[in-house]
């Protein structure tokens, strides 16, 4: 603690000032900084030769800042880094020897990183002579440790254009295996398919025709069969919709826990978490995890690590199973009932309600409202290529509700009849934006133009601490072949892969700005879109 305080003097002062205003985060930031310092120390130990570290120790008593550049000829590349270590070690010269290493290695690492970044940028500009506004979005992302400590690590699935990240991921997948498994039982890396639109070169684009499970050997000793089945269901779209995916995930984890046996010298709390890691990577490869799944996984990991050491295995397992059941019951089932109760207050007789796509929550609300004998009719809006609205249509018609069905291009024709719009959400972001199925923002836009109120229904477990302002930086690209259609015997886009200059884009999500949304109905009540970070804070305090 003392070392870091001395070497990071100017930054720490600012941090402390900042942290005084938000009291809680001081300790978190300090902890993160500590962790980073340790990581950098470890990295510098790998990079520098032992000789050089010895040389540094020897040259330190000389205390000449000018002598330091010559002792690190191989590692220093960029000239601007040279003056940087000079002033920094001067105040640190009073500090003991180990304190010097973090200061120098940090600056030297910074220099290396800068040089690498510039090399990347130059090579990228040479490779892509692409359109200007799009080139700006494909700039290499700065390695996360250079950013402020508050920002978390960038997930891998939005850094597809960075070859280093891909290599790291491949290595990680290789490493995640049980001790007795041979190297061939590694989790396979899924390959991208087809021509990707340059704006989205940082995202994966998979083909449904080549699922990940084809590359797995049978039997797979690394991955539990329930997880393999789940992964296949995700990648083929059999289980879709954020609630359905979370519930399926939790049930699969319950099965994993039931079948789990603690190895002899390990503790359940630590080993089970490590066991789950390769499963999660595998599922991520099949289909990127949703925000709701991320929150569920965080909860499970926390519960597992909170199991006391002296707990017997059977007891611990049954405790975990009840925890998971509780989570599903509270956060999904009961929350749906509470949201339905609040929403029914907003539905009146004679209403014409517009819904988009298939949201399990919105369907539940409408069926409940119908059972309470409120007279309303529903307009279901659907869009290609997923055509999820047909599923919603079937459920509502089975419930006995009068429905109309249109495609999203006819929305401005049908909106003058509509009195309210109910939308479901995939996640609610901390800056008030609603992340949902692609097309939701369009419906909200047109509804706003016609002055029709837009209500979003979302459980609180889907609230997410990420922020996002557009639909590009973090999205999912679905199989582009889905856009191909055969009409009157002619398929226009059949051989789009052979045609140069032609790309197909099949987005899955988009973000709706908060000024389009009038109300968010959660189980905690009816809140405006901008109150999402308040709810997140309250939840964090509770936990």
């Amino acid at each position: 603690m003392a070392d870091s305080a001395v070497t990071d003097e100017p930054e720490t002062k600012d941090d402390i000032d900042r942290a005084k205003n938000d009291g809680k985060e001081l300790t978190k930031e300090e902890k993160q900084r500590l962790r980073k310092e340790k990581k950098q120390q470890r990295k510098s130990k790998e990079k520098n030769d032992d000789k050089e570290s010895e040389k540094e120790k020897k040259s330190f008593p000389a205390a000449a800042p000018a002598s330091q550049p010559p002792t690190q000829p191989t590692t220093h590349k960029a000239p601007p880094a040279v003056p940087a270590p000079a002033p920094v070690p001067v105040p640190a010269s009073e500090a003991p020897a180990p304190a010097e290493k973090p200061a120098k290695s940090k600056a030297e690492l910074k220099a290396e990183r800068r040089a690498r970044q510039e090399a990347d940028r130059a090579s990228k500009q040479g490779k892509k002579g692409e359109v200007g506004p799009q080139a700006s979005t494909s700039k290499p992302k700065a390695p996360p440790s250079e950013l402020q400590p508050v920002v978390k690590r960038l997930p891998e699935h939005v850094q597809v254009d960075n070859p280093d990240v891909l290599k790291k991921l491949a290595k990680k997948l290789e490493r995640q295996q049980t001790d007795d498994a041979a190297a061939k039982f590694k989790i396979p890396l899924r390959l991208d398919y087809g021509y990707k639109v340059s704006l989205f070169s940082h995202l994966h684009q998979y083909s449904r025709k080549s699922p990940l499970t084809q590359q797995l050997s049978i039997p797979s000793t690394v991955i539990h069969p329930a997880i393999v089945r789940l992964g296949l269901q995700y990648s083929q779209g059999i289980v879709a919709g954020s609630n359905a995916r979370s519930v399926a995930l939790l049930h699969a984890f319950k099965q994993v826990i039931r079948d789990y046996n603690t190895p002899p010298n390990e503790e359940l709390s630590r080993d089970l978490v490590n066991k789950l890691k390769p499963y999660i990577s595998f599922l991520n490869q099949c289909r990127p995890l949703s925000a709701s799944m991320g929150n569920a996984i965080k909860y499970i990991k926390k519960e597992i690590s909170n199991i006391p050491n002296q707990c017997k295995e059977e007891e611990a397992k049954s405790k975990l199973l009840t925890c998971i059941d509780c989570y599903i019951e509270e956060k999904i089932v009961l929350a749906a009932r509470a949201i339905a109760k609040y929403s029914i207050e907003k539905i009146n007789d004679g209403d014409v309600i517009l819904v988009y796509g298939c949201s399990s929550l919105v369907n539940h609300i409408l069926c409940e409202a119908f059972n309470k004998n409120i007279k309303f009719r529903v307009i279901v809006v659907d869009s290609r290529p997923r055509l999820e609205g047909r599923e919603a249509l079937r459920r509502l018609v089975q419930g006995g509700i009068r429905c109309t069905y249109v495609l999203i291009s006819a929305v401005s024709y049908i909106l003058p009849e509509v009195s309210k719009v109910f939308l479901g959400a995939h996640a609610l972001l901390a800056n008030g934006y609603v992340m949902s199925r692609v097309g939701t923002s369009q419906i909200a836009l047109v509804a706003k133009a016609f002055n029709v109120p837009v209500l979003v229904c979302c459980e609180t477990y889907k609230f997410c601490e990420r922020v996002q302002t557009d639909s590009f930086v973090s999205n999912e690209l679905d199989d582009p072949d889905d856009l191909i259609v055969t009409r009157k015997g002619k398929t226009q886009l059949e051989d789009w892969l052979q045609v140069d200059f032609l790309g197909l884009l099949n987005l899955v999500y988009d973000v709706t700005p908060p000024d389009f949304v009038d109300l968010v109905i959660t189980e905690l009540g009816m809140i405006p879109c901008t109150s999402v970070p308040v709810v997140l804070r309250v939840k964090n305090v509770d936990q």
Binding site: V131, S383, L407, S409, S412, V485, Q492, G503
Partner: protein, 355 residues
């Protein structure tokens, strides 16, 4: 006898044209594009002028009006037919006035003073006979036909003034005018086009393949992604089926959403529409504005069990109000939507607005 033969020949041609119009009523558009329809209509009117029996301008106008009413009734959504008829009527009026010797200017300007002082034009009944009228009218119609043939090229010639390099342009569905426009610009500039496919007929696919074959970098997106992608778009260039009298559009469905998204992001919306698409209709005639086609394109018959319990709509057109439009590019240059009413008064005579 040449007379009756010519007449039966003429009526045959008119009937053939009417049945063509009636058949081209499905959502994928008429059997031929609007430019072709306009040309065929004008050619037919020229034939009527040449072969029908009339002695004065008034008779000719009556015949044209009668046939015109039948043609517009055959396919009300095909407004170019009506537009051409009104153009020809205006031509007849002009030629008549020129033959009579009175200047065209005084006839056109309906000042408040004129309205009060003279019944003026209403007394004019076009009964005078002029020998040269037929030849003049046919010559003027020939000029009109030449103008029609050059519209797409005239519009495409203006492309380089509006598209700069490295732009991202968005369009929806398929418009031959926009296709020619973009291909002309692509000869000199490099840019990227995003095409919204425009379900359920997915005409955007054909547009995308055609553009990519000319070497333009094209991306096809689903209709639902229009707003998501709009933030990276520099311009929106669309075609339309009709330009209405107030400067609004009657365009393929999905265009209103596109226009709203463009307005939200302050992206200019450019409409490429030749002059023959300008129609003196207003959008408030609700019962004739919308056209619906078979909903099996939206919800196919394979979904049989729910079909009987559900209403399905498949509208073909959208109304786009003039506030959302930035610029009209036509064969006579570029105009703001607020100028459309003036163009209309130059093309059509107010008394012909109701055929």
């Amino acid at each position: 006898m040449p007379g009756p033969d010519k007449e039966t020949d003429l009526t045959e041609r008119i009937e053939a044209f009417l049945s063509d119009l009636k058949r081209g009523g499905c959502g994928t558009g008429p059997l031929r594009g609007s430019a072709e329809t306009a040309r065929e209509t004008t050619a037919l009117l020229r034939r009527i002028t040449a072969q029908a029996r009339w002695s004065s301008a008034g008779d000719l106008m009556e015949i044209i009006r009668k046939e015109g009413r039948r043609m517009t009734a055959a396919q009300p959504s095909e407004t170019t037919v009506g537009n051409m008829i009104r153009r020809v009527l205006k031509i007849v009026r002009e030629e008549y006035a020129r033959s009579r010797g009175s200047s065209e200017e005084t006839d056109q300007q309906e000042s408040l003073h004129k309205l009060l002082t003279s019944g003026g034009l209403s007394e004019e009944n076009f009964r005078q006979h002029f020998a040269a009228l037929k030849a003049n009218v046919i010559e003027a119609i020939n000029e009109l036909l030449t103008e029609l043939e050059g519209t797409t090229d005239n519009i495409a010639m203006q492309a380089l003034e509006h598209i700069h390099s490295n732009e991202v342009i968005m369009t929806i569905g398929r418009s031959r005018t926009v296709e020619a426009f973009l291909k002309d610009a692509a000869r000199k500039r490099k840019f990227h086009v995003i095409v919204a496919e425009c379900a359920p007929f997915c005409q955007g696919h054909k547009m995308a393949t055609s553009l990519s074959k000319s070497g333009i970098e094209t991306t096809v997106i689903a209709d639902a992604a229009i707003f998501a992608v709009m933030s990276r778009v520099n311009k929106v260039i669309i075609g339309t089926q009709t330009v209405l009298a107030n400067g609004g559009l009657r365009a393929v469905n999905g265009t209103h959403t596109l226009a709203l998204a463009a307005k939200h992001h302050s992206t200019p919306l450019i409409v490429c529409a030749p002059m023959f698409k300008l129609s003196p209709q207003f959008p408030n005639e609700e019962d004739t504005f919308h056209k619906f086609v078979s909903p099996h394109e939206v919800l196919p018959f394979t979904e049989g069990d729910i079909l009987s319990k559900v209403n399905v709509h498949c509208p073909v057109f959208d109304y786009v109000p003039p506030e959302l439009i930035t610029l009209f590019i036509s064969n006579i240059g570029g105009h703001a939507p607020s100028y459309i009413y003036r163009l209309m008064s130059e093309l059509y005579h107010p008394e012909d607005h109701e055929l």
